[in-house]
Amino acid sequence: MIVKKRRRPLPLTVLSTTFVLLWVLMAAFPFIWTVWGSFKVEQDFFSRDSWWFAIEGPRTIAQTGSAFTGDGYYGAWVLRDFFSSVVNTIIVTVSVVVISLTFGTLGGYALARSGYRYTFWLLMLALVFRAMPHITLVSGYLLPFFEMNIWGHLPTAIIVLVAINQPFTLWMLHSFFLSIPKDLDESAMVDGCSRFQAFRMVVIPVMWPGVITTGLFSFLLAYNDFAVTAMLLSQPNQTMVPKIASFLGTIQQEGNVMFAVAAVVSATAPLFVLVMFFQRQIVSGLTAGAVKG
């Protein structure tokens, strides 16, 4: 390693390091800026005079007596009932992850272990389904859901998100299952397990890394979704992202943009924590698909 570094010419090292620094700044700065600004008043964060105000916060001090204020958060969480949409988000994401993984591990296992040709066609079909823009599917749901009177409820959104998530989950788990030797479930079957017992007692215990990684991506899909939750959930059942979108419509006129900024930061915080703890799994998940596919 040391030998290698010595061989690298200095200008190149400087150039590539600068480039990386620049990128890190580009990637991280917007978040840091917004988190910082969310504790200011609107006149500071969206200052007409100088953006320097957003850093020092003179008006925040003038209005609240301190350089930092939680008014935005108070407004969003308490006054605008962001709290209930957080609860809805938790219900939706947890259910979507659990159901997706249950369906996905079963299906992915079947696809990885069946040697017949139709598995190929099913995977191709899943790829086409994966490419469907979510909003086109939503436009297919709305009318039937109205007619069946199931529009607006959380379970409806959950099962829809599970289905939309399936193609991706299947692909990913399929490639993880392929990396588990067939000998394992076959010896379990010879030892006296049925196919399902072999799956449950022998394969799943060694599949945890793959399941966790896939679960993370299911979580991200459900958490980040806007098209489905915005169109399929009624006002009181809204999750965070559509809630933030609906803030935009009303708050701008009232001059309470800071509510939205606070909500945005609140919605981003869990993702920060997620990346911090599961960085390795996210990276391996992104590449698992690439290496196999």
Partner: protein, 354 residues
């Protein structure tokens, strides 16, 4: 304890024939080895017996049960896989106990049975380890222990030694032979290694391209190969095969003339003989050619010659020396020769009295 019968078993995928019309009775307590090059259908045959692959045609009987439609778990067999198929999340003890657990053997019997099996495969000191913390030979023994922990109707072993190094292979081979003798369970063993086949088997089945080539005891197969495939597959070096013509009991090929063979054949044939049956002589003999290479094997010296596009090897004593390019003669008496049909490769039987 059971005999196994395969009645005209075939396996097809689309238009590819994996196993063609396999018909064999395996006696109770027999040690049967399926031998052949990779892709010859030997593993597929075993997997059909285990129930891991379904059967396209024919019937498989374990004892008095036709098992075609039974799940692997209901066939009462145990199997050792090539890469062992150990459960990485369980300890050695749990791995060996697993078959008892899932087969609902009464709990109080578990410990005794596991310990007994562990003693037989010498794993008592490693019971709390996970497979990842074991060496290749130890893992292999865990797989064996898991197979013998209950008394199945048959053991199936799919190239169990192929992932071990040469030295370990010899000792484990002996252990397997001994275990089978002690437990007296019908065993089917798949390998591509002819030495394993020769040393372990009561009977060997040689397969090629999904078809049985020959069934017999190791001696049988070595001494009387049924066709050129078996002749060239068994033995190290393989049997020398030379093509030529025969007339009135005299075979003539490039640089080789052998008299005194059977007189009932005429025309092109393939002549076969084993390297160790022929001997190098200074003068005369049935064969003479330039030495192509000399190999010192330790216990013997081997000289090879090029005849047409064939390589012919002849073993001699360890003291023998010759240079590459020297012309050397060899005695190949008619009694050591085998004749095969050139087109079909099938052995041409000796007529009685010849």
């Amino acid at each position: 304890m059971a005999e196994i019968r395969l009645k005209n078993v075939s396996k097809r995928w689309h238009n590819f024939v994996g196993v063609n019309n396999f018909d064999l009775d395996i006696a109770d307590r027999e040690f049967l080895v399926l031998l052949g090059p990779s892709g010859c259908g030997k593993t597929t045959t075993m997997r059909m017996i285990a129930g891991l692959d379904d059967i396209s045609e024919g019937e498989i009987w374990l004892g008095d049960r036709m098992v075609n439609n039974l799940e692997p778990k209901d066939r009462d067999i145990s199997m050792v896989f090539q890469s062992y198929g150990l459960y990485p999340n369980m300890t050695v003890y749990e791995n060996i106990r697993f078959p008892l657990r899932v087969r609902k053997v009464p709990k109080e019997l578990h410990h005794e049975k596991v310990m007994q099996a562990a003693r037989m495969v010498e794993l008592v000191d490693f019971l709390e380890r996970r497979p990842a913390a074991l060496s290749g030979g130890q893992r292999q023994r865990v797989a064996l222990g898991r197979a013998i922990v209950r008394q199945p109707a048959a053991f199936l072993m799919d190239e169990p030694l192929s992932n071990l190094d040469a030295k370990l292979r010899v000792s484990t081979r002996a252990q397997i032979k001994n275990l089978q003798h002690t437990l007296k369970v019908t065993t089917i063993y798949v390998t591509h290694d002819q030495i394993e086949a020769m040393t372990l088997a009561d009977r060997v089945v040689v397969m090629n391209r999904g078809v049985i080539q020959q069934v017999g005891t190791p001696t049988d197969i070595y001494d009387n190969p049924a066709n050129t495939f078996v002749a060239s597959f068994i033995g190290s070096p393989a049997m020398n095969l030379v093509s030529g013509d025969i007339e009135n009991g005299t075979f003539r090929g490039p640089g080789i003339t052998i008299a005194g063979l059977q007189t009932n054949v005429k025309g092109p044939v393939t002549l076969g003989f084993r390297a160790e049956d022929a001997s190098l002589v200074s003068e005369g003999g049935e064969f003479g050619a330039e030495v192509y290479s000399m190999e010192l094997l330790g216990e013997a010296t081997m000289a090879s010659f090029r005849i047409g596009d064939q390589l012919v090897s002849i073993k001699s004593g360890k003291e023998y020396r010759a240079e590459i390019g020297d012309v050397v003669h060899a005695a190949i008496p008619a009694s050591i020769c085998h004749l095969f049909d050139t087109d079909t490769g099938v052995r041409i039987a000796r007529t009685p009295g010849n």
